[in-house]
Symmetry: C2
Subunit: 313 residues, 2 copies
């Protein structure tokens, strides 16, 4: 099967692709319309984002399964107190009472992004809001790396997984965005569901080897990522065996051998989340297909220094 | 005289003001509509910008007197070669053929802003373009620190200076933006002209002591800045003697004594250009009125860490 999405993500001579991670988390609040608007205005054509569903089944763009007090304020403007509510326990209307516009600088997570602007009155968007924005003619070349977050409390619940995938795919199809969307997950069971329900969209297999630390302040994906006992070089074959089109390793896991193997298997390789100049340079030197980053401007500038670009026209 | 502009720039309990320097030079190309849009979207209400005039007398927003090859590409998409043309030698139509969308990372200037996004097809805006944007109701609280750049080749040319000030003031008045504009310059002769022509706008006196290095890659303003032989503590009295309302020192020049003297004289004190976290913290500890920065998100986050905000509502 030929996928029309693939050329937008694949490197070519003179071009390594650039994906804005959750918009541009280093600059503006993650997974917000404000952050996506900035990323698009900066000339970035690949957006990475995280999707889960509310209690009433609305696909929304947010990373963690619980509203996290390092980045969510209540209707009173104060950082969340007490137990962090699960997104899946709230209706979309209830979710709109929370403010996702900034980070608490006292938290470990907040300290990881010290330049992120602090906004007020920012809502967790629906997937449909972003899909609507991308209908505008000026965004016709924008593609999505749409990560579906499986609920760690529902591992093994096939019906729940199917319902989530169906809800997401339905919205993508309603917006006619299938030719510009890649479905992306750490949960390979969920990706199998994507392949069954939406064979017209490539499946993108995230990997993180167990000996690498989780990112502080974020949900870990290791519980759903079936790569225990693998070496880096095993991963492309595992993805190919699962009939994936994209391999998306944590950037510290990739090696030249593994990248060469992925290429031999016909996989597109997108590394995440690459923020430090020396790491960006290393990924450029390796020759990955795409770099997913919280700092799109920084990656643009490193690519240019190497005589490369992130777009073809 | 009471100036309605002053409360927007003056500190108050719990509030130190934040001005975006040339928009947000650390994030997006300086003095561009793209950069101003980002700065406004980040909730910043004070915009600093630089204005000079084209050959046909159009006030345009740009810093250096010559189109500078570290930041300007020609119509062919290549960095400028040969002699850098003076802005005042080009018509506005001619100026629109150049691209101000990014920095050349090989230049000293480009290396100062390694995270600045790289855009293509960005035009040097007219002052009128920004004034039109600020007519939108959502920007009603936005104020301008409008720096007028005197041509170093025309020092002592009173007629040229008057013509420039008249052109700028005329546009501000046409847009009815006088109550939200402060006129700002290193050139105190030019500020005297501003005070004569536009007494309804406060005059903001920039200072940089001669023993501080110029910023690499930028026009120096020392030739027009009459502070030779001054100490920091002399500066507020000099500004007050010139009937200024704002004192805007280079942040390395300010001392607690000088700030106290400025306050005793009723001056608003805005420091520039403060980008490093430790310098931002030092300016917060001093208690200046406003901080002008290339990294608005970073200053927001430092203010919040000190229990402060940059807006009153």
């Amino acid at each position: 099967m030929q996928y029309p999405q693939i050329p937008a993500f694949a490197a070519r001579p003179g071009v390594i692709r650039l994906a804005g991670h959750r918009g541009a988390r280093g600059v503006l609040p993650e997974n917000t319309m404000e952050g996506f608007a900035f990323t698009l205005a900066a000339g970035v054509e690949l957006l990475e984002l995280d999707v889960t569903a509310t209690r009433d089944g609305v696909p929304v763009i947010t990373h963690n399964h619980r509203l996290t007090r390092s980045m969510i304020r209540g209707a009173d403007g104060c950082w969340l107190q007490g137990e962090e509510p699960k997104v899946s326990s709230l209706t979309y209307a209830e979710l709109q009472t929370y403010d996702a516009g900034g980070l608490d600088g006292r938290s470990t997570y907040g300290q990881r992004f010290p330049d992120q602007a602090f906004l007020t009155g920012v809502r967790i968007p629906r997937l449909a809001d972003l899909l609507a924005l991308l209908q505008r003619p000026e965004h016709k070349n924008v593609h999505l790396l749409l990560e579906i977050k499986s609920d760690p409390d529902l591992i093994g619940d096939t019906a729940a997984r199917r319902k989530l995938v169906e809800a997401v795919v339905s919205e993508v199809r309603q917006a006619k965005m299938q030719p510009r969307t890649v479905l992306h997950s750490f949960d390979w069971d969920l990706l199998a569901e994507c392949q069954r329900i939406a064979p017209e969209m490539p499946a993108s297999f995230l990997t993180q080897l167990p000996d690498n630390a989780d990112d502080p302040g974020e949900d870990s994906s290791k519980a759903v990522n079936p790569v225990a006992g693998c070496s880096a070089l095993d991963l492309p074959d595992r993805v190919a065996a699962a009939k994936g089109q994209f391999w998306c390793p944590y950037f510290q896991d990739i090696t030249a051998d593994a990248l060469a193997r992925a290429r031999a298997l016909g996989l597109v390789t997108v590394v995440w989340t690459v923020n430090e100049p020396e790491d960006i340079d290393r990924m450029i030197a390796l020759g990955v297909d795409a770099i997913c980053t919280d700092y799109p401007g920084r990656v643009q500038r490193r690519l240019l220094m190497h005589g490369l670009h992130w777009r073809t026209e």
